[in-house]
């Protein structure tokens, strides 16, 4: 493998190469911004880094110019990084133009103790949940944030776990393998070495006397105290009530909770509550070696493990400055597109489930899904958790007979199945009555809320990472970016069918063009050398843009490993979309968003 200092380009593109016009646009934007904010904006000149460093004082002004004058209307990712040795916290923003092109990265630095950065929610409402996450996990305070509560952990949790000096109970070390488990090469159980033996840590000052759990007081603050009608005129005086849906609820597709404030049957306000599946993916990721993270990415959006692998492989390959060989690229695209079809039919099946077509459509789609899973099992050995991609290639070549099976699926089975879904569902009266004009998300709002994937495209924004900022070999394929104009749940349902058809189109081209040859650049290794620097690998996953922000400091472990999770960010708009609809519609709207809790909570 090449050791790739050249992999760190000055201005970041998420693909492996950036086109000339794209470079020019970024260059112009950087020029404009640095000349406008002479004292407060400067290029990030650390080795392997890119983008602009912005003085937090000027951040809001900077973002306003960026959005309104330069057209970077889409704030994709917000996250924090704890640079413990330098004593500072950094908030990293990735902004895009919905017209296409590479990211403009900007960062705000603040001292670790007393970390404060102005909130960008007034400019980019899509930053809402992400800033809350950064507050929860890093303790970065976002001034003026409208609702800065903990999001993935619970109120009253001790500390901010992604800070580098926050040590995990019983697993205090910074990298694996943990010595505590192997003293003198002999395994001991960590549970036996600790006071309560239950993987918990209490702060030193904590006592039970006088302690009261914080509960949901903050969550309910400002809800439920509204009088819906004062009883003047003919009405009877009524109050709004608060109803919790979830975390155990068949319509939430997992352990998701919504707190709805109702006036009769009508939603007045709705807040998503998550974190019930928060399994500290990122903290574990920062102690794993780079390759050890690959199987963990499978468990993010566990329906689409191949797509998750893809994004992470791209991010690390970018740092290493390598590219996979041709055949591996084609195999990757094949797997990613099969994943897309799998996810979309699954989403449609379970949307219908939510609408009350109890399990029948779902059974039909699961039948087809099993056939795709057979292919995954054949190539990777596992149905769901494929762990198939490697840096610079894929784990193994396609076994005999797989191409023929894919061929049969792509040309015979899946088109028939999609037509079947089309015939039975699209004009179905109940489907139409339940979905049309329900949960409308207009284009401007979809962009403002950083919605991605089918949700964004169903709102009339033809933004697809595969086209807007092509990665891998997507620039070679002939396909249309599916787009629907209305932004309602029905369009979000239809667009999944459209996209599945486009995926079939790509797959046909893959089958036609796939070359023989190597599947791995260099020798496969367990331990890769990754030069210091940062990178952001993003792919168009079935649910939308999935991004991995990886910071390496040259050690075997990533210093920072962040996942820009689509399902999570798509939920920013949920409250807005549900307002004014009935309770039963919430279920349909959530189903049409297609979330997976493994990705929401990570």
């Amino acid at each position: 493998m090449q050791s790739g200092a050249e992999g760190a380009c000055v201005i970041q593109g998420t693909g492996h190469g950036m086109s000339e016009p794209s470079k020019q646009i970024i260059h112009d934007a950087v020029e404009t911004l640095t000349s406008r904010f002479t004292d407060s904006v400067k290029p990030d000149e650390r080795q392997g880094y890119s983008g602009l460093l912005v003085d937090p004082q000027k951040l809001v002004e900077f973002a306003t110019v960026l959005r309104d004058e330069l057209g970077y209307d889409y704030l994709s990712s917000v996250t924090g990084v704890d640079y413990l040795p330098d004593g500072m916290m950094e908030v990293v923003y990735h902004a895009y133009r919905t017209a296409g092109g590479a990211a403009l990265v900007f960062k705000a630095q603040t001292p670790r103790e007393d970390a404060v950065v102005p909130s960008l929610v007034p400019i980019y409402p899509g930053a809402d949940l992400q800033e809350r996450e950064a507050w929860d996990l890093f303790g970065i305070h976002f001034a003026e944030h409208p609702d800065l509560r903990r999001i993935l952990t619970w109120e009253g949790f001790h500390g901010h776990p992604l800070r580098k000096d926050w040590k995990e109970a019983y697993f205090e070390e910074d990298a694996k393998p943990f010595d505590i488990r192997w003293p003198d090469g002999k395994a001991i159980r960590v549970e036996d070495s600790t006071q309560y033996r239950k993987n918990v840590s209490y702060p030193s000052e904590f006592t039970l006397d006088g302690w009261v759990p914080e509960g949901d007081t903050l969550l309910y603050a400002g809800m439920g105290d509204v009088q819906a009608s004062d009883g003047n005129g003919d009405d009877i005086a009524t109050d709004t009530i608060i109803v919790n849906l979830g975390p155990q609820h068949p319509s939430t597709h997992g352990v998701f909770r919504m707190v709805a404030e109702l006036d009769g049957e009508t939603i007045v306000d709705l807040k998503p509550v998550m974190g019930y599946l928060h399994r500290n993916h990122e903290k574990i990721g920062e102690r794993n070696t780079f390759l050890m993270n690959m199987p963990f990415t499978d468990r993010l959006d566990y329906i689409c493990s191949m797509g998750n692998n893809f994004g992470y492989a791209l991010a690390v390959e970018q740092l290493m400055g390598i590219r996979p060989p041709e055949r591996a690229e084609y195999i990757r695209v094949m797997m990613a597109e099969l994943t897309r079809i799998l996810n979309h039919i699954w989403a449609i099946g379970f949307l219908l489930n939510d609408l009350g077509a109890y399990f029948t459509p779902a059974l039909y789609v699961i039948k087809e899904r099993e056939l795709i899973l057979d292919i995954f099992e054949a190539v990777s050995g596992s149905r769901m958790m494929c762990n198939y991609f490697r840096f610079g290639g894929v784990a193994r070549d396609l076994p005999e007979g797989v191409i023929e099976k894919v061929h049969d699926l792509v040309y015979e089975r899946l088109p028939r199945h999609l037509d079947e879904l089309d015939a039975y569902l699209v004009q179905n009266e109940i489907v139409r009555a339940r979905l049309i004009d329900v949960g409308v998300l207009p284009a401007e709002q979809a962009i403002a809320y950083s919605a991605a994937g089918p949700v964004l495209r169903a709102s009339g924004v033809p933004y697809d990472v595969r086209r807007a900022d092509p990665y891998s070999i997507y620039d070679r394929f002939d396909f249309d970016v599916a787009m629907r104009p209305n932004g309602d749940s029905y369009d979000r349902f239809l667009i999944r069918l459209d996209e599945a058809h486009q995926s079939l189109r790509i797959l046909r081209q893959v089958l036609r063009d796939i070359p023989e040859g190597e599947i791995q650049t260099g020798k496969p290794r367990h331990q890769v050398r990754v030069p210091a620097g940062e990178s952001y690998g993003r792919v168009e996953n079935p649910k939308g843009e999935l991004g991995y922000y990886v910071v390496s400091n040259g050690t075997p472990n990533p210093w920072r490993y962040h996942v820009r999770a689509t399902s999570f960010i798509n939920l920013s708009a949920l409250g807005e979309m549900c307002k004014g609809h009935k309770v039963a519609d919430v279920v349909a709207i959530l189903g049409s968003l297609d979330i997976v809790l493994g990705e929401v909570d990570r």
Partner: protein, 205 residues
């Protein structure tokens, strides 16, 4: 009725063989219960997807009388803990379990529910549901394939077959105790630890 239900030691007149079966109370009781184990529709994480796949046409849980998944704990016999148990979710799981009527069974599906799995080291992960609930069957795998789940459920059926109506806990005189619901404080607080917690000089981790 399957042949195994018959007690062959008791002779039945030839002309009544079509109408009469003679068996023990335990056997007919267990046969009824094991053939209609209703699982809770309760997916925690990745394993929940495989649970759905097991219920679908290819693997077809219905063959074992288990296709009726109820979202309400009041109508279920079995909770399949299918996925990572987080500290934030744990109080809810315990409440669900407490709300299930006896007889009730717990299946820990997947590495996470069995012992924390790949996420065991997590600050937010409970390393195994068996720290709180009495698990009847453990199913390893990450996630277990639907076949593995089926095997686990067949194992549960075998376990049910061996129970005796005279000894099962839900017919005993003393009331069945609820599992105390953990609290969310600075970290997870198990009420069963209260005496220990009050006694100990608290210290960092």
């Amino acid at each position: 009725m399957p042949e195994t239900l018959d007690n062959p030691e008791v002779p039945v007149p030839e002309e009544l063989k079509g109408q009469v079966k003679i068996t023990t109370l335990d056997r007919i009781y267990n046969w009824g219960r094991r053939s209609s184990v209703w699982p809770m529709m309760f997916g925690l994480a990745c394993c929940g997807i495989e649970m759905i796949a097991a219920a679908a046409s290819r693997y077809d849980l219905a063959r074992f009388g288990m296709e009726i998944m109820r979202p309400s704990p009041r109508q279920t016999d079995l909770i399949i803990v299918s996925g990572t148990v987080t500290k934030k979710m744990l109080p809810q799981i315990i409440r669900l379990y407490n709300q299930m009527p006896e007889p009730k069974y717990v299946v820990a599906m997947g590495a996470c529910a069995c012992g924390g799995g790949p996420f065991k080291e997590g600050y937010s992960v409970v390393s195994g549901i068996d720290k709180f609930l009495p698990v009847d069957v453990y199913i390893p795998g990450c996630p277990p394939t639907p076949q593995a789940l089926l095997h686990g459920l067949i194992t549960l059926q075998k376990k049910i077959d061996k129970q005796s109506i005279r000894k099962v806990k839900w017919y005993q005189k003393h009331e069945s105790r609820e599992v105390p619901v953990p609290l969310l404080g600075p970290d997870l607080i198990d009420p069963r630890d209260f005496p220990e917690l009050e006694e100990c000089e608290p210290s960092e981790s």
